[in-house]
Symmetry: C2
């Protein structure tokens, strides 16, 4: 009997709880702290920046500090059912190209609304804001995956959405901006004239290219001076990581359905929530001391937080407006090289993922962006699927893992997360492949 090439689950099988791994490692998990003095934060204090529910999650308040399963609200489930479960695909074309006799699978988060894994957390964040009676959410975005998801989720709940988009992406990736504006979001090129910090940076350098840390700082300044707005983070926060566990909880069911016990899991890492979510169900096994697959984090060699950063408390934004969080970081004032166009540009990696790396459960490698784009083009040829440059980092690491297994004469089952579509990044591909603009 022919083996399948793709799997989805029925609506009944969509997981109805997120996997709250921080509760399991609560004694080791470093909570965010306030300022240079590193004061402990209260939910009330943090609620001036995040929605109350997000503040509770961030500080592991109440059930978030004790319960491994966090029920997904019904309204979120209604939205999830629109697009989840995402299919798991077998990459037969890539296997054939590599002459690889093991199996390669990938989870299609590119099929989601707005083309990436980001709606998995944008939806609950928007719902919390609506239930709290907020007017809207403010956020930052680099390549635009997060901004597009947040804009769409806000529109679904009747909320206003303001996005500070890193300047070089604002210019180079108009299609993602269109996607945000179609959903009614107000999108500013960051650094912008909208904030004091943005004006300062532009006065120093009118061509300032921006960074995620700067965008986050501008977003937070806007929140602190506004009324009824809060900051929404697509990465770096624990709440975003928690919501992404839906991906891993589906994955474990789908692989069971396919009769596969994975040997290697691979995901790209920007802030780290995509990887954490994708691997969550297997991290649970490892945290409980059971054997589990090898776990590989593919980061950008241009932004090598995990492979070259330090594990310490640092600010999530460039202006020190956010709490300090303990993470692998290149420093909150880090700017990626100007040539960088492959996404994954955040200076730090989310605390929960950083802890998993620190504990040795996840191994990080760095991928050069030229190689990521090349591999993206190869995957497009083999599978007909154009990955976001971010996701192409994971494919490069997958290919390395397959080649290694082949050299060792082993047939490993390797599973990676295709976190986003490359259709909105075609300009980046065109530049990298030297196509006429």
């Amino acid at each position: 009997m022919r083996e399948n090439t793709k799997w989805i689950l029925s609506d009944r099988e969509i997981p109805d709880a997120w996997l709250n791994l921080a509760a399991l490692v609560r004694n080791e998990y470093p909570l965010p702290v306030e300022g240079e003095a590193m004061r402990p934060l209260t939910v009330q204090g943090l609620s001036s920046r995040y929605s109350e529910e997000c503040a509770r999650i961030e500080l592991l308040d109440g059930s978030y500090g004790t319960d491994l399963d966090i029920s997904i609200p019904g309204e979120v489930m209604d939205q999830y059912r629109k697009y989840r479960t995402t299919p798991l695909f077998r990459a037969r074309g890539l296997e054939k190209h590599l002459g690889y006799e093991g199996r390669i699978f990938y989870k299609r988060e590119d099929f989601n609304p707005t083309g990436s894994h980001k709606p998995n957390t944008a939806i609950p964040q928007a719902l919390y804001a609506k239930e709290q009676g907020l007017r809207g959410l403010v956020t930052d975005t680099g390549a635009g995956q997060w901004g597009a998801a947040m804009a769409w989720a806000c529109r679904n709940y009747g909320l206003e959405c303001t996005v500070f988009m890193t300047r070089n992406s604002f210019i180079a990736k108009p299609y993602r901006r269109y996607l945000m504006e179609l959903a009614g979001a107000l999108v500013h090129s960051s650094p912008s004239e909208m904030t004091a910090q943005g004006r300062t940076l532009l006065a120093e350098n009118p061509d300032h290219q921006g960074s995620l840390g700067i965008g986050m700082g501008e977003a937070l300044e806007t929140v602190l001076h506004g009324d009824g707005f809060r900051l929404a983070l697509g990465c770096m926060s624990y709440y975003a990581a928690l919501h992404q566990t839906i991906v891993g909880l589906e994955l474990v069911k789908q692989l069971a359905q396919a009769g596969v016990e994975p040997d290697v899991l691979v995901a790209c890492v920007g802030g780290g929530t995509n990887l954490f979510g994708f691997m969550s169900a297997y991290l649970l096994r490892k945290l409980r001391g059971d054997p589990g697959p090898e776990m590989i984090a593919a980061e950008s060699a241009n932004v090598p937080s995990l492979t070259k950063g330090e594990y310490r408390y640092d600010y999530a934004d460039a202006f020190k407006l956010t709490p300090k969080v303990k993470m692998y970081t290149l420093g909150h004032q880090f700017l990626p090289p100007k040539i960088h166009s492959g996404g994954l540009r955040y200076h730090g990696k989310s605390p929960i993922l950083s802890l998993m790396v620190k504990k040795g459960l996840v191994r990080a490698i760095a991928i050069e962006q030229e190689r990521a784009f090349e591999v993206g083009g190869l995957f497009y040829e083999c599978e007909g699927v154009l990955p976001a440059p971010e996701s192409a980092h994971a494919i490069a690491a997958t290919i390395d893992a397959a080649k290694l297994a082949k050299a060792e004469g082993r047939k490993k089952d390797i599973v990676f997360c295709l976190s986003g579509t490359g259709y909105l990044d075609l300009r980046g591909y065109a530049d990298m492949f030297g196509l006429k603009p």
Copy 2:
């Protein structure tokens, strides 16, 4: 028990034969003919333009004239398995927005390689060319869905691919061109300097906007003066229509799995192969005299071939280089209005679909392009899925059908084909919604 929101079939259930409806209506089916004299064509004669297998299909040669089921070659099945079956989705978000108590479903051909239904025929066409030992294929494309699919399929079989892309799309839709060029295709803005006919048109009007008929003529001129190349058509040909029946054969199985007997089927119409393929399994029922769903063809009001054209023999291209085919046509020299950006720009509709319309099995309506883009934006909000403008015509017709059913107090099950993604058409959306470039 909760009803599902999406369905795919296992690999074993992927149909392994195309549905050759022309064989069933062979006595009525008007074959293509040669020139003003309307001479009958031979397979050998037509093989100077198309690959031999395509010429055989086009003239219903041998088994193509007798067999209702045409086995899908194993190599094509291997490619189909990469992405098929495409999921069937329930549009709960749109139903809720409309306050519609019936059900609305849609088939996700936007999930295919290159983002549209076009690979379903590009793959077999490339395989035929490879098996014949051709060097490559030449084709025309408007918005670029077809060119992207053909380029990708050619790359998969090691063939060269040349695409004449309608000039206004070449300028306005660079992302689709990048997609073709990433797969190694040579893409020319049409009318081009590459052909005598193109040079003549440019001499008359250096800003000539082009049309699909002109692109097809340039492609055919290139074939007739080249060596080892043939024309590949994504619409208008019967072979393209035949290959698209895979969509309808899946649909009938998926709807059975969902326990749905559809009341209305809706698809957009450019050349007509998307609609024909999508509705094929239900057309079979109707042709056999069984009752079947209402069938609605949504064409562009800017290119109203079915609603305002004549049913007669006409050329498929602007230069009279192709055979004449009997179809609903606006005349082979028809140019869509310059403001047109919604796709579906072909002057005629494929002979097999035209026959179905003539027989009263399919009813055509025309949708204004402004409305199509608006509805596309609405669908994006409700479902998180941005449709190609072409597909948005089908959504507009679906909404009309739902409103009518609601007014009549009926709960109809309406199913439409989401033939392509809108991510590559965001510039068109941006223009139509007045977003800053």
